[in-house]
Subunit: 390 residues, 2 copies
């Protein structure tokens, strides 16, 4: 089914991202669901939606698992088939993939996919510990390394092999903060200077505070249906034309490379093949910038530049709004924020806005084709999806 | 697609259930996967399997999330698309449902579904706390009620409404321990008397120690493919001909009934409709006996008897091996054990054995049609699947 729409997004919702004090995850998810329902008056959610997949990474934050059923109820979808998917920070990328299967299966005409995380009520050491569960317990966590440390290993390897610099990393942060300043739902809506990023305190060298994404509360969702049914619900569908998901070793110590993510490359290859497109056909992308080095590696893994040239791409400003291939127009995980379970479908939400011309100040002109790249942990899971304007 | 095979099970594996000291969940899952691969020499796992869905309830047990990728690697399926599903104790029932979608989608020819949990290295209070995450935090957990308490509420309501007795509950335990004594992989392989069950210590009245399922380590898996491809892999496929999944409120306090699970009834109705069968067509069933009262309610929700007559059904011994409708021939959660994430596909494994004539001492003669009923939490998730001998 090369290049043909797999499924169509007929609506999407995103809660405000930020420190949402006094709310449970279920209330934040309901906010995202309400936006999706309000955008789509032809949809009768309770009648039409037959399954829900919700990405949610950590039950420890609220001492609450069983997230599928909980979110279904609070979104007004009581009794629907509801399942939580977890693949660390790619939990809702995996939810999207599961929802695509469900629609293509013929068993469901309309499904909702989404994600949610409530994190900011926990202390930073608690959050760091919960996030660490996405890395290998016996050979990583147990020895005390946490995610900034794991991504610092990638950064130093990339610097050593390709000459990438601390300035390159900081430039990613500056760009994404600029984009975030244009997104009223972003957690941090302020521009920063290169100097601010470079002089921020070291977390795990060469990664500094401004190289790290945010601890954020938020939720996101999409409504998917068969392409032939999309017009029942909207005049502006966005078609998903490529989908890839792949895995790798949970521990970085078994990887062949520290400067590239095998799962991301494989997922991208599958998605491009299915879409029958090449990297140069992509007009706008959201990539998984959990740390600035991850965005530079993403450029290379997705073929937006050659291996080793990610630093040059950001140096030439080519991934900024208005340039060759705008990346993370939402602000990315760095500035919009990274409520881990919500991130995958929040990236898809940005594609929905961009490809329907609703991205306002951060609109990419004439965007036809978009791509999202969602990574779990240090790369043990990756999902890549490709979108086309309907 | 009424009555037609949705997908076919071409192989299945189950680890030993019990206290598996010194092993990580990933090693236990590998044991189950190895059995499935060994049973199916025509399958080249690394080449043929395109997706893995793994039910896993609690990342707290081993401080390890990101279970999909981890299990994929340890099962020898590195780089495969791998996702953890979580729906409390129905986590692998949900994995099975997700795998059915994946095969029907046309994107995957062969998928593996399964589940795993490693629990016994934790203290009972720890396990009780982790399990409680499947109930509602603000209005249940916070007030101190745990799962024995929640199911005790169902038991007292059932006793009050229908005259069900403590003896009825104990009879479920005696039957399932008898069945478990015939299953070499069961956690507890010993028969018990009614007196033993009735005189065991009260956990949450009327539920006593022998009314409660076990804290167990274990893993289970199935290999699914399209029915038209099944013969490539085995001469003895088992077809899945009905699948239903539904949700309910996470908290019991919002339910309309305490004597029936709405999600289970709805999932059963969907599965029966899809299979074009009636309850009386079922020859063997595995139901979710997390507590003895849950098995009695399951009889009623599945239509194996009328509402309120579950106590009579067990009193007349009709669900015992050799009688009208044998239930939980594996020993059930009560005697085989309940490694929560593994339970749903472990039930399906028992159906695979029964419908291919490999259940040895506990074989149900001439079994043609089987059913599994997997419940999450106090009933916020339920999955029901119906199987037919290939």
């Amino acid at each position: 089914m090369k290049g043909k729409p797999l499924v169509s997004i007929v609506s999407a919702g995103l809660s405000k991202f930020g420190k949402l004090e006094g709310f449970y995850a279920r209330e934040i998810f309901a906010e995202a669901a309400k936006e999706a329902f309000d955008r789509c008056p032809n949809l009768n959610p309770k009648r039409d939606i037959q399954a829900l997949f919700v990405g949610h990474m950590g039950e420890s934050y609220e001492h609450q698992g069983h997230t599928g059923a909980t979110m279904a109820d609070w979104a007004g979808l009581l009794y629907v088939s509801a399942t939580r998917t977890e693949a660390a920070c790619a939990s809702s990328g995996a939810a999207l993939r599961a929802g695509i299967y469900a629609v293509l299966s013929g068993l469901c005409d309309v499904v909702m996919v989404g994600g949610v995380e409530k994190m900011t009520h926990r202390t930073t050491p608690e959050v760091t510990e919960y996030l660490a569960m996405a890395s290998d317990y016996p050979f990583e966590q147990w020895h005390g390394i946490t995610f900034p440390g794991l991504f610092a290993l990638m950064a130093t390897a990339h610097m050593h092999k390709y000459g990438t610099t601390e300035q390159h990393l900081a430039m990613v942060s500056v760009k994404n903060h600029y984009h975030g300043s244009l997104n009223p739902k972003a957690h941090m809506q302020k521009e920063i200077t290169l100097e601010t990023a470079l002089s921020s305190r070291v977390i795990a060298w060469p990664l500094k505070l401004f190289d790290c994404s945010l601890i954020t509360d938020g939720a996101s969702c999409l409504i998917l249906t068969k392409p032939e049914n999309a017009k029942k619900y909207t005049d502006m569908p966005v078609h998903i034309i490529g989908s890839g998901q792949a895995s790798d070793t949970i521990g970085m110590y078994e990887r062949e490379s520290f400067t590239s993510l095998a799962a991301a490359k494989l997922a991208a290859r599958k998605a491009y093949e299915m879409a029958n497109l090449k990297p140069e056909d992509v007009n706008v992308a959201e990539v998984h910038d959990c740390f600035t080095i991850a965005e530079i590696i993403a450029y290379e893994d997705l073929g937006l530049c050659k291996p080793g040239e990610g630093g040059h791409l950001i140096e030439k400003d080519e991934t900024k709004l208005g340039r060759r291939i705008p990346v993370n127009t939402s602000g990315g995980l760095k500035s919009k924020g990274h409520p881990v379970g919500a991130t995958g479908t929040a990236q898809a939400y940005e594609m929905y806005l961009q490809l329907t011309g609703q991205a306002e100040k951060r609109q990419v002109k004439n965007a036809e084709v978009g791509l999202t790249h969602n990574v779990g942990g240090s790369g043990a899971t990756a999902t890549v999806h490709i979108y086309r304007r309907g």
